[in-house]
Subunit: 121 residues, 2 copies
């Protein structure tokens, strides 16, 4: 389940066909003493994603709960699933996410649609 290959860094195939924006929720396993190393890797990798067509927004979250299976979680919105897929393929993507420094931070990316919302988006 925690797959550090380039394929493992992409949410699996979808069921149904999202027609609007999609939200990636990507959860990372990071030991507390490696927070700084993780954030450096994430900062440099996220610059690639933010520059891709269809990128809307992201929020990177760090757990404050004492017990958290995934201590860092990125919530990123893309205009369409096709934009998400395009940004998560190709040589530049592959080179970034297969960087050896990522090996110590397994992640679990899952793609969602927003089913309900309240308050400011």
């Amino acid at each position: 389940m925690l797959d550090i290959t380039a394929e493992g860094r992409t949410a699996s195939a979808t069921v149904g066909r999202p027609t609007g924006s999609v939200t990636l929720i990507n959860s990372f396993v990071v030991p507390p003493e490696r927070d700084e190393a993780f954030q450096e890797m994430w900062d440099s990798t996220s610059r690639y994603f933010m520059a891709q067509p269809g990128f809307v927004s992201l929020r990177l979250h760090r757990a404050v709960s004492a017990e958290a299976p995934y201590r860092w979680v990125n919530v990123a919105v893309w205009e369409t699933e096709a934009d998400y897929r395009a940004a998560h393929s190709g040589e530049e993507f592959r080179a970034l996410v297969t960087h050896p420094a990522w090996h110590e931070f397994p992640s679990q990316p899952v793609l969602f649609e927003v089913a309900a919302q309240a308050g400011p988006a």
Copy 2:
């Protein structure tokens, strides 16, 4: 880890002291054939939370990935951790989340701070 008691429905104690807003990311186990029942329970329960002091926003996400360990994820922002804690205690909270209909939908609530963000909030 997937604890259906009222205590299990609240993010565990925090380390450090978040001084600003906090974000609850609550992940639910829902079999695809029970999506409708889950959403009904969630709609009625969320009305309580939206009416509490310090509630800012929520987005309920449904997975489109074929393989997702948690198919529904709520991302909710609270003004302060104290507001979050207050809303997740007391008799009304306890009565809601210990409703027998919730037993089939275990959840994993974790509290976060936003460490980085880009694009519209």
